[in-house]
Every structure is written in structure tokens, then in C-alpha cells.
Amino acid sequence: MLTQTSKKGDLLLLLGFVLAVAFGPIILQPFGAGYPDLLQKFAIFGIFAIGFNILFGLTGYLSFGHAAFLGVGPYTAVWSFKLLTMNVVPAIIFAVVVSGVFALLIGFVSLRRSGIYFSILTLAFAQMSYNLAYSVLTPITNGETGLQLRQHDPRVIDTMFGINYGAELPSTTLFGIPMSGWSGYYFCGVVLIIMFYISMRIFRSPFGMMLRAVKSNQNRMNYTGLNTRPYTLAAFVISGMYADLAGGLMAVTDPLAGAERMQWTASGEVVLMTILGGTGTLLGPVIGAGAIKYFENIFSAFNEGTLLQIFSFLPEGLQHAAVSVAALFVGEGWHLTLGALFMIIVIFLPGGLMEGVNRIMRLFTKSGSGGSSPQATAQPAE
């Protein structure tokens, strides 16, 4: 975690990342994840987690209300589809700008406190937004039904250019390219790469170092002549905009907005993605997001039949016992797995998968070259 990094290493990392996104469909084919809907989800939640990590990973401020930003994105985007155009570019720009302002407001208030107070404040704001979306804001959010496209929406810009969707419900486009299937995935993929690159720049910048200094010692920072509040606020707004962008992309692939995305369990999910992958690492959050969405997809698809098949090698009595235990964790019970995973990671591997990989690597380098770099073996002080 030291900033003395080589430019070459970063370039390689970025190149690897681009290749992974480009060939994702082929690489993940053998794992049964090579289809656009799921890959799109990886990309979208990857963006969400990268953004969350800029706040939590660098500054250590644990926001429990990031789902509020994720939830605002789709509303803004869908309204843009309804009123202006089915083109996704304005929708996404609007989503990011609106949420940026939203994040500025919430951040300005929440960041007056730190620690648990900050977590509770953000949680309170998110719950407030969630409740409002279901009550007073119904004219904007369409309440529990959710905001949907209609055939007779005005779509001013589209009409201006004489685009007519006829009797069918229109679908989102990028200057005429329909945003469904593979083109949808690659659109999200390109955005993911851009957002990953931005996060990399932030990590390697003086600004990023200041954010890590916030996490390390705010008192020292103040007495060093640095004003911590604008730094944390900037981090909060940036990460809020990432979340909104992710929300906007959700609407691009599925133009429907509902408040359930704002629920605080969704905020918990992004925390889990980030810590599962590795808080404060560049790649970790993307990996964490991918892993969780992948297993969610697999686990929730299981049902009793598939389980019976899996355990068919066992004698009948045991088979049924195994199935009934396993059934708790799959299908409807996916959340149980999620919760258990949450605990296991926090208890045993607070550094996340990246930390795990590092530990294994260290085992090899230690036995191999015998303490090549002093900082790699550095134990954190108590």
C-alpha cells in the first residue's frame, strides 16, 4: 500500500483490465457467466464498488447510505428517457450531475461527524430518501409501481429529430445503437474501464495520498495545515457520482426505476463487495462485485431438484439431510450465504481477497528469494 509504484506496473494493470473486459465473455464462458445480462451486472456493480472504495478504502469513512445514490440514478435516467430522448448519453450525464448535487448536500451534513456517527447519519439519510420515494415523491417516483417508460412519453429531442418508435415501447440507444445484449455490455464495459482509470489516477495522486492521510490521522493533518473537510467531501461526492453512474447504467440496460434499490441492505451489499475484494486496493472492489454477483446468480438459481442431483452420490438418508441443509443457503436463502460470507470475511480476512492473494504470494517469495523486499513483509503495528 505504498505509493512508490512504477508507471509500468500501472500500465500493465490497466492493459490487463481492458483485456479482461474485452474478452470477459470468452473468459467467463466456461464458468457459465458468458452472457451479457450478467456481465453487465458485473460492470455496473464494479463501478459502484470502485466508487465506494474511493470513500471507504481511502478515507475510512464507512457510509451506510450509498444505496441512496444508486437509487437516484435510475430515476434521473428514466426521466431523461421519458422527457428528452432514448439516447443514453444525456441520461447518464443527468444522473451523474443530479446525484452529484445530492451527494454534496448529504455529504456536507454527514461529514460534520466521523466514525459511527457518520455511518448512522448516512444511514438515516438513505432511509429518509427511501421513505420519501414511496410517499411524497410519488409523482416523481411513481411509488411502489416504479417509474416506467410509456409509449406516449414526450421525448422532446427524439421528436425534434423525427425519431418515431411507432406502436412499440422504445428501447435505449447510443446514437442509434440499441443498448441491449452485447452492445449493452460493451457500453458498460467501456464506462467501467474509464471509471477504473479515473480511480487509478486518484489513488496515485497527491489528492489520493491526502485521503489516505485522513484515514490515518486527522489530527496530524489539521496541524499540518490541511483542511480535512473539503478532502472528505470531495471523496464523498466523487463516490456518490460513481454510484449514480452505476444507477444510470442500470436504467440504460433496463429502463425501470424503483425505490427498493435504495434500501439499506443494498448499501450493505456494496460494503461487502468492497471488503470482500479488498478495501483500499484498486482491483479488489471490482473483483468483489463480480464475485458476489456471480455467486448470487448461481446460488439463487439452485432449487431442490438441482441439489438432489448434486448430492446424488450420497446414500439416500444422507442425501436428504445434505439437501435440506444446503437448501438454506441457496435459492431464496442466498441472503443467508451473503450474511455468513460477510461475517467470515470480516473475522478472518479483513483485508479481503487481495490480502489473501498477497499472503499466498508472500509465502512463495519468502521461501523463494528470502526476504527480497522489506516492505512486503512488513507487519502492521498493533
Binding site: T3, Q4, M209, P230, A381
Partner: protein, 251 residues
């Protein structure tokens, strides 16, 4: 011309009068020590200089700026750096980063949204920081994580972080508290070196050995009031000081 002027400072905590009409003048380029028995108000006074506590009345002037009611980072930006009783450093960061942060604060001010430029591009700053670490004998550990340093080395690092900002005034709050004798002596030597560079220092100290080897001038604080202010050799013989501070024992 004093660089720091403290006039008629009072501070109450509830019914307790922690500081009572304190007056103090620190001349530029000198080491000024503030001593006093426990609870005399030394730390309270220091906290009044750095914006952590707001004194009830009158003046704390530094180089023409009032330090009253402004925030810690603003006080630092006018040229006051501070060393804490327990070294305050960025434990998760490397030593060189620890020094680069104050250097950046000095160059770019209290906040700059430079998220797009690269730390790697800051070669000049890095070199300056490495030199500073070298001056304090920490060059070898430059890439190490700061939390792993020994207590004495943490103090050195903290001093490096202050010195890289070329402070006009350096405040030290019991810089050798909790240190072993050897570390204490090293720190004294180090502070003498720093004093030679002409940096004004205000030292709050408990340890007489430290005070008398460093200070150009000593103020004695007892029960919130300055009872004596003089050259070290004269302080030693001052009966008032012996009475209040040492209960009559000889220094």
C-alpha cells in the same frame, strides 16, 4: 521584536481558573521553555496557541496575525508547526509520504483537488523530503511504514514533518516524554541542531535536564500564572520558583 505575543490570556473550565492573566513574549530565533508543576496550565496554554482551545480574553499574536478563533490548519498555514506529546504521524503511510504531505500542504495550501496529477511526478518534492529524512537519520527507512518505527524515531519523523515546512515557530509539547535516557539525549541534540538553524521554538517540558540544556529563556507557570520569566541560570536561583515549583528543593 517578539514573534509571539501572549497578553492577558485567561481560561476557565467551569469554576476552575486554568490560566490567569498569562503574559508571554517569545523572541524570534530563540528557544523559549515553559515549565511548571503538573496542572500548572502548560498544556492548556499551548492549546490556546494552536486553536484547540479558545481563551476567554485578549491577545495571542503571532507575527502580526491573531491566532484566536482560527482553526488548527489555518494556524499552521501562517507558519506555526506543532510536535505532540505522543508523536502524531501518519502510521499507515511510508516515511517519505509522511514528509511529503506537509511539504504539499506548504506548497498547495489547505486544500487542492489535484486528483489527476501523479505523485510519481513530484520528483522535486520527493527529493527534498528524502533529504530531510536524511538530515534526521531516517533515510534508510524512507519506504517503511511509519507505525513500525521506535518511539524515538517517530519523534524524529514528526520533527522532519514540521521542519520541511520551514516553520517560523515550532511548538513542542514535552518532546521527550516517555523516552528512554538515550533517546532523550538524542532528541536534545537534535533540537539543539534545529535551534541552530534559527527556528524559534516554544518548548513545554517537565524534564529539567532537557529544559536547561535547550532553553534561551524560561517562563515558570504555577497555578495558571507566570511566576517568573528569566534566563535559565537565573531561574535556577530564583527563590519564588523554588518555593512554588520545587517546594524549596535546590535545582
Amino acid at each position: 521584536m517578539p514573534i509571539l505575543t501572549v497578553r492577558n490570556v485567561n481560561k476557565r473550565f467551569g469554576g476552575l481558573k486554568a490560566l490567569n492573566e498569562v503574559n508571554l513574549e517569545v523572541e524570534e530565533g530563540t528557544v523559549h521553555a515553559i515549565i511548571g508543576p503538573n496542572g500548572a496550565g502548560k498544556s492548556t496554554l499551548l492549546n490556546c496557541f494552536v486553536g484547540r482551545l479558545e481563551p476567554d480574553t485578549d491577545t495571542v499574536d503571532f507575527d502580526g496575525t491573531s491566532l484566536l478563533g482560527i482553526k488548527p490548519h489555518e494556524i499552521n498555514q501562517v507558519g506555526v508547526s506543532r510536535v505532540f506529546q505522543t508523536p502524531e504521524i501518519f502510521g499507515d503511510l511510508s516515511l517519505v509520504e509522511n514528509v511529503m504531505i506537509p511539504a504539499l500542504a506548504k506548497r498547495d495550501g489547505a486544500f487542492k483537488l489535484n486528483g489527476w496529477s501523479a505523485m510519481n511526478g513530484e520528483t522535486e518534492l520527493r527529493q527534498k523530503s528524502m533529504e530531510m529524512l536524511g538530515d534526521l537519520g531516517l533515510a534508510d527507512q524512507a519506504e517503511q511504514q511509519a507505525s513500525q518505527l521506535s518511539r524515538g524515531d517517530k519523534r524524529r519523523l514528526e520533527l522532519a514533518m514540521c521542519l520541511i515546512q520551514d516553520p517560523k515557530l515550532l511548538l513542542l509539547d514535552e518532546p521527550t516524554a516517555g523516552m528512554a535516557r538515550a533517546d532523550t539525549n538524542n532528541t536534545i541534540d537534535l533540537l539543539k541542531e534545529i535551534a541552530k538553524r534559527g527556528i524559534t521554538m516554544v518548548v513545554i517540558e517537565h524534564d529539567m535536564h532537557v529544559v536547561f540544556s535547550l532553553a534561551d529563556k524560561i517562563s515558570v507557570l504555577a497555578q495558571g500564572t507566570v511566576i517568573a520569566e528569566d534566563l535559565p541560570e537565573k531561574i535556577k536561583g530564583n527563590p519564588k520558583v523554588q518555593e512554588a515549583y520545587l517546594g524549596g528543593a535546590h535545582l
